[in-house]
């Protein structure tokens, strides 16, 4: 019989840590009221149990997931862990209990509350990462591409493959401001690292003129007779605008006519070797 305890689990915030919480929950035959990561301090009256991350226990759980409920479910749980869903740990535990009980068909139980809430969160994560594949803007500093994003979900692991396949010969850095993480790449290795803050240098002349060209293109492409700001907002929510080159003009921006010397395209990009 499952023991509905009033216990709070405290884990180290890693995926392995969460798997150990699942282990503990089965080991003790209890369901915690909350699973907390250490960086969310919460004064509580409930007894707190600290779950130590044990790689062996974590691995036992990890191996059991594809066995009991299929590889699809493992991917799903991994993605669910990246979402910004409040109390995602508890929801994942509920989902996994369902999975151990029902087997692979848990992935088809879309109308079940425990499954539905995670599906919605994962959809949000996937949507956001898809949008950011387009909305991310790189600037070139010293021949390194640097881009900044502020996503709600932890999307870097989902962006990794896309950008590594797209720019295999470039060096680039994508900084996730919300989570203090960055995806760094240089041919042909990538890593997700912790980065506290990123201060970017002033863009050089070449970079600025390409930004200016892009803004010009963006403004010209609109058909004025179909102006529809609401439609734009629903496709491209305002929270993304902050990091979009075309919607942010530098304060002391010069009008186009102030680039008279620009007789041909800024000498850019070919880097002398292509």
């Amino acid at each position: 019989m499952l023991n509905r305890s009033n216990m709070i689990y405290l884990y180290d915030g890693s995926f392995n840590g969460l798997l150990c919480c699942v282990f503990e929950s089965y080991d003790q035959k209890e369901m915690p009221v909350e699973i907390l990561a250490p960086d969310i301090p919460q004064a509580t009256l409930f007894p707190v149990k600290e779950i130590m991350t044990d790689p062996q226990k974590a691995n036992r759980v990890l191996v059991s997931i594809p066995k009991k409920m299929g590889h699809e479910a493992l991917d799903f749980v991994r993605q669910a862990f990246l979402t910004c869903l409040p109390q995602k740990e508890l929801h994942i535990l509920r989902f996994m209990r369902m999975g151990y009980c029902h087997g692979p068909s848990v992935m088809a139980m879309l109308a079940n509350d425990a499954v539905h809430i995670l599906f919605k969160a994962v959809k949000h994560l996937k949507n956001e990462s898809h949008l950011l594949k387009g909305f991310l803007r790189f600037s070139v500093f010293n021949n390194v591409l640097v881009g900044e994003i502020e996503p709600k979900n932890c999307v870097l692991p989902l962006l990794r493959q896309h950008f590594c396949r797209r720019y295999p010969e470039e060096r680039f850095l994508i900084f996730d401001k919300t989570h203090g993480m960055a995806l760094a790449y240089h041919p042909y290795q990538s890593a997700i690292i912790a980065v506290e803050d990123l201060v970017l240098p002033e863009p050089d002349q070449k970079e600025q003129s390409f930004r200016e060209l892009w803004r010009l293109f963006y403004e010209t492409i609109e058909v004025k007779g179909r102006h529809n700001p609401r439609c734009r907002m629903s496709h491209m929510p305002k929270r993304y605008w902050k990091h979009l080159t075309e919607l942010n003009r530098p304060q002391e921006s010069l009008p186009i006519s102030a680039y008279p010397g620009c007789k041909k395209l800024p000498d850019g990009g070919s880097d002398g070797q292509r």
């Binding site: 139980m109 387009g134 070139v140 720019y167 010009l216 293109f217 963006y218 609109e222 395209l265 292509r274």
Partner: protein, 440 residues
């Protein structure tokens, strides 16, 4: 002329082209190259008119020897004219792509000297991109009607998607407004491209590395509202294009008046955006929902209902097919229910394997119950307090104002009965006869 002005002129001239999709092909960068493509396509920005910006949409040149009346670049229009050199264009594309501004290049052109010369210029730009920059991003190239088939073949080998614009939905309109183009000059290349695509995909089944030809297929576009062609004609044409030439997309563009001409709507006429929207809805029904053009419109009803979407309109005229039971109905029947789309149907089919669905569950699966509730049952039950007649459903789906306007335009009972104080015998000829002959 500096780069800024060139870009401004050649973007301004290209913006009336609708297609900006980057879908239909998946690929990663070759070693030493740059660029990839996703099958679903990626939007990189949205312009203030709400249209997606996925590709760098420009013309090679806006100089044109043609004089199509509806076109902003027609010969007789007094405009600043300019031309990109192939290298300038390739460099600009590469640098925008590197900064993740765009998914690739959309290259169209006015006709400079003659169609062949124009195509050669475009070809050179694509060659520089693909061969010198080893660019593997998306390229959509427009074919100039009248270009040599050899050139089309070479463009198709470099581009992902190619398109020939139909522009006007009938031969008559074409003769009137685009005297330099003919139906043959448009459909000819379309047929040629279609057979080439078929050939190349058949070859690639045998030889894995056979050359690709326009792997993302071909598309076309036409202008809505510049001529008197009806929705019925346009939709029929669309359907036959999908069937005959296996087009990936047909785009519609509501005509924006760009010239004062007695043959065209006057300047300042509002573009027919709602009509364009309805056509796109119908286009989706053709491609993903198994509808045919004849089901949506016919000779008696040549235009779409402005108050109801085509699917809802169809369902209300076929109430005998509803309600369907979500727990038992087949995929194709569920697809026909207003408020249930392709994604929801797939979810319903998945979810009903493990449980019996009720209305609350449907809401979780993403079904729009506001519309769907009139057309479905869950385990034999309709939603609470539901009266399902055509009028009741219509009244519920429309606002009061729209309902009044709807009634004005589409009277439900053409010969509305005059109210009378005395009940008239309601028996008809047949009943009377039956009574008389004793066959009841």
């Amino acid at each position: 002329m500096d780069a800024f002005h060139k870009l401004q002129i050649l973007t301004g001239a290209a913006k009336y082209d609708v297609a900006c999709t980057s879908s239909g092909v998946a690929r990663k960068a070759a070693a030493g190259g740059i660029g990839s493509a996703e099958a679903c396509g990626i939007c990189h920005s949205f312009a203030a008119d709400g249209r997606c910006v996925s590709l760098l949409k420009v013309l090679m040149t806006n100089i044109c020897v043609y004089d199509c009346q509806y076109c902003v670049n027609r010969r007789s229009n007094d405009l600043p004219r300019t031309t990109f050199t192939p290298r300038e264009l390739a460099e600009l594309t590469f640098n925008f792509y590197r900064r993740n501004y765009i998914e690739g290049l959309f290259l169209s052109s006015g006709v400079l000297k003659n169609p062949d010369y124009t195509c050669e210029q475009m070809l050179e730009a694509l060659r520089i991109l693909r061969e010198e920059y080893r660019f593997a991003g998306y390229i959509h190239a427009k074919i100039i009607p009248g270009a040599d088939s050899q050139l089309i073949a070479r463009i198709g080998a470099l581009a992902d998607r190619i398109s020939v614009n139909i522009e006007l939905p009938s031969q008559n309109s074409l003769r009137l407004l685009a005297p330099d183009k003919s139906k043959h000059a448009i459909l000819g290349p379309m047929g040629y491209i279609h057979s080439h695509i078929k050939e190349s995909s058949a070859d690639r089944k045998r030889y894995r590395h056979g050359p690709k030809f326009a792997p993302a297929g071909q598309s076309t576009q036409m202008i809505i509202g510049a001529t008197t062609d009806t929705d019925f004609q346009i939709l029929n044409l669309t359907e036959s294009l999908y069937k005959k030439y296996k087009l990936k997309r047909v785009f519609f563009s509501a005509y924006m008046p760009v010239a004062e001409n007695t043959l065209l709507p006057a300047m300042g006429t509002k573009p027919q955006l709602l009509r364009e929207h309805r056509l796109y809805q119908a286009d989706w029904l053709l491609r993903f929902y198994g509808f045919t053009a004849r089901e949506l419109l016919d000779e008696q009803h040549q235009s779409f209902n402005p108050y109801l979407d085509p699917k809802c309109h169809w369902a209300l005229n076929h109430m005998e097919l509803f309600p369907v039971d979500v727990n038992r109905a087949a995929y194709n029947d569920l697809l026909r229910v207003p408020g249930i789309g392709v994604t929801s149907v797939k979810r319903i089919i998945t979810a009903r394997r493990t449980t019996t669905l009720n209305f609350d569950a449907l809401r979780k699966l993403g079904v729009v119950l506001k519309r769907a509730q009139y057309f479905i049952t869950c385990g034999g039950k309709t939603a609470d307090g539901m009266i399902i007649t055509r009028d009741a459903v219509l009244r519920a789906l429309l606002s009061e104002k729209a309902w009044a306007m709807y009634n004005e335009r589409f009277p439900l009972h053409p010969e509305a009965e005059q109210l009378s104080l005395f009940d008239e015998p309601s028996s008809c000829q047949e009943d009377v006869q039956k009574c008389l002959t004793g066959q009841i």
